[in-house]
Point group: C2
Chain length 150, copies 2
């Protein structure tokens, strides 16, 4: 984003393991929100689409290769509106992904780990990851309970 006065677009992804667990990344100590668990991802660079940013970030952070058509939009989270803010407001777009090439490795964060959906609510997370985790849990629900689909 060229304009600092507007919002900062960020993408993130929930890798969904075959056992129903979800990959999260622990932010490095010393960084903003250091030590907290988040969905891996990062800022959309100028000239990038959201999907291209996801693919680039996950390659950089986890060393795995995602395909565009494996990315499923889940929800988004947005900073509260009101200026003056200490930083430009962030908007995070969260995708889910069930298929990838390679084995996730921790190339950028302090740690990565797989969590059951019910375990995530107990983790310390950055503010925008909290509603994303709740939206993901709700989004996953119909998958676990086919009778709830319509």
């Amino acid at each position: 984003m060229a304009d600092k006065s507007t919002f900062v677009p960020v993408v993130a992804v929930a890798l969904l393991g075959g056992d129903g667990r979800i990959l999260l990344q622990k932010r490095r100590a010393g960084s903003v929100h250091g030590g907290l668990w988040e969905f891996p991802g990062g800022k959309i660079e100028p000239g990038e689409s959201a999907e291209a940013a996801v693919i680039r970030e996950i390659s950089e952070e986890l060393g795995v290769e995602l395909a565009v058509d494996a990315l499923e939009p889940v929800s988004f989270a947005s900073d509260p509106v009101l200026p003056p803010a200490p930083r430009a407001p962030h908007v995070i777009l969260l995708y889910a992904c069930r298929h990838w090439r390679g084995e996730p490795r921790c190339l950028d964060g302090e740690a990565i780990a797989w969590f059951a959906p019910d375990a995530i609510a107990g983790l310390a997370m950055p503010p925008l990851d909290v509603p994303l985790a709740a939206a993901l849990k709700k989004w996953i629900l119909p998958l676990a309970n086919p009778a709830a689909r319509s």
Copy 2:
């Protein structure tokens, strides 16, 4: 967005009536996607947060007043990635809203109307509104079926 090469951020809102119906707007004939039904909304202007853009657009298009804390993120839709594209890719953030001040009026589109969730799949909609409508239906589902909440 200053940079034409990056994506165009758009916000939209699904007003949810007390009877479970959803307000849609028909685009004016002659505009892009003229005659199709869409969620009302529009582009985020430079310097605007997503929520501020929703509030401004819905005031302009429907003449109703929304409160920030009544906006619930539902999902988003994104144009396919690959360049060259005939236009900068759009990303639409869809909010739901159950409470507003005023009676919606058609100030910008060709028409507005309330639709039952099951009726929306049969409407002609712009490409990115189609997955948003599907996501909204899935998002509404647990509300209609409290047993599916967890």
